[in-house]
């Protein structure tokens, strides 16, 4: 995880330098705040990875001499077919239509979205299809 940490931390440092430069030279609030936020967004996961990378043992994908057999075993949960993404998207669709056509669209919108969130979570806990 060292390389990943380094990428994010160097991006974050660059944004930090840039936000300081821009804040004091540009006197412009919006840009200064936005670059500062970009710096934070890089430092948060970057620091997490940096902290972790010192504690975890080398993963097979970070080992330049790894063999494929070293990666054997379950590598993650990959949910198979699921109706919930489509349902959630339709819920989101109605929610934004409420912005345009009237608040009553929030009923199907939030309804579908809530159904999808509950259904999707339950599916995840059950294990889902493969």
């Amino acid at each position: 995880m060292r390389v990943e940490a380094r990428i994010l931390l160097s991006l974050g440092s660059f944004f930090g330098f840039m936000s300081a430069l821009y804040w004091f030279w540009g006197h412009e609030n919006a840009g200064g705040v936005m670059i500062f936020a970009a710096m934070l967004l890089c430092f948060v996961p970057g620091s997490y990875y940096f902290w972790w990378s010192r504690r975890m043992k080398e993963r097979p994908e970070d080992d330049p001499n790894a063999t494929q057999a070293q990666g054997a075993g379950v590598i993650g949960a990959f949910p198979g077919t699921s109706i919930w993404p489509f349902t959630l998207a339709m819920g989101a669709f109605f929610v934004v239509l409420a912005l345009v056509f009237g608040i009553w669209f929030l009923v199907p919108g939030f309804g579908l979205a809530a159904w999808a969130l509950f259904g999707g979570t339950a599916e995840g806990r059950r294990g889902g299809t493969h």
Binding site: T67, Q68, G80
Partner: protein, 563 residues
Amino acid sequence: MTDVLDPPILAQPGDHGHAHEGPTGILKWLTTTDHKIIGLSYTVTSVIMMVIGGALAEIIRAQLTSSNNSLVSLAQYNELFTMHGSVMIYLFAGPFAFGGLANILVPIQIGAPDMAFPRLNALSYWLYLMGSITMLMGFFTAGGAANFGWVAYAPLSNSINTPGAGADLWIAGLLLTGFSAIFTGVNLTATIFYLRAPGMTMFRMPIFTWNMLVTAILILLAFPVLTAGLIMLYCDRHFGTHIFSVQGGGVPVLWQHIFWFWGHPEVYILALPFFGMVTEIIPVFSRKPVFGYKGMVFATMTIGALSLGVWAHHMFTTGVVLLPFFSIMSFLIAVPTGIKFFNWIGTMWRGEIWFSTAMLMAIGFLFTFLVGGITGIYLASPPIDFFTHDTYFVVAHFHSIVMALVLGAMGGLYYWGPKITGYLLNETIGKMQFWFLFIGIQVFTFPMYLLGLRGMPRRVAAYPLHPSWQTLNELSTVGAVMIGVSTVLFMVNIGYSWKKYPAGDNPWDGHTLEWFTTSPPPHHNFYRLPRIRSERPTWDYNHPDRPAKAHGHHDNQDEVPVV
């Protein structure tokens, strides 16, 4: 030589590339979480959006062909260019780049069975589809679609100046597609960080995957800003806030800061994936490794980092931004782009170049992006920007850039189409498409450079005071028609080549992991994985006697590979 990966997730050779049970037909499409099908859906939808945007463009060009034309009304014209830009940028280029080919290829290129969050991936696609439909619904409202330019500057975009549902549908559509992009950014980052195959260290990933990583980080940094800005705009329009209106103590130019803080990284989000595609095509068709791999990675990260600091070069003429800061940052972005250019040429240098359609598209990309990139350097200079901003010079500049990206996209489709579908496209029709596209692009853009320098401003429906501009406009329309013909040829090629030329696993003698698996890849992508000792695992497997070398070393059977 080949190591077998044992986990139960991988398909067994008995599987015929698809699950035995499970839904079929339309229900299968609605419920799929397979990144290959999602990516293919993204690709098809975004190409449909490209055709819609292209049709709008042809109407614009038809209107502009004569100086006092009345093919469309002033109101319709404003809708035309707004929706042309919006459809092309928000609904075609971005989704094609990070949702289409990247979705299909990134997991396979790093040896993963799928994206890290398959259901989130599916959600991204459906949000994108519904967002596109939402935005296009504007055409069917009474007031018409959005008509304030794809940039929606305040106060033109407020409810006083642009009442009507079209604008709100535009905002609503972008909220959906924005979240779609953010979720894809999360998925790509997680996949690249966590799901690489053993031996696939970060510095052995293909350059396309590196570019997608930087793109994903840029998406995460930039898109939330757009979403926030859109919500602010909506609040100004409907909840009585005065964020962008002077009357209430707001600041109109704040919209521009927020919009362009997203807007400039967005154009690199569009460009970097296609840079990556070209960086995959050129080595394979030169039969050499990528020249300067680490330089490419460094250049991509530099472009990504710098792109967050140049947004106000779109605002030089506002008079309220710090010109020197944005000017020097914009100039500096040219340096890593130049590094990439020389590395591409270095890859071709002393290679054995063969001109398949994909390679022609990639080379066409090089020439076209050269023009677009150099004209961008002009625009980094405020005094020059003062007389080119909001003229056709800028229109020509960014069309050179995006048409170069289209060339890259076509190259990607010709190169990876056989991997995804299992069938090659016809090369003769492909080359005809290439020549119409490449020549059409130059005929389309060069007159616009001159028109801009002669004073033709953007977003004007007619130019009755300047009939001398008509000839150049006519020429540009000819180019646009040629580009349209090339799109038709592409469709013809798909129809003509449908299931005609089976591709096999590796028709191009490709270098990266996707060429190791079958065409199309099986469920969960790999039956077997090779040993990974460089950034070209498939090449090393097929040509173990020809590993990459530092310049000046002669190939020697006994030498240890440099990487």
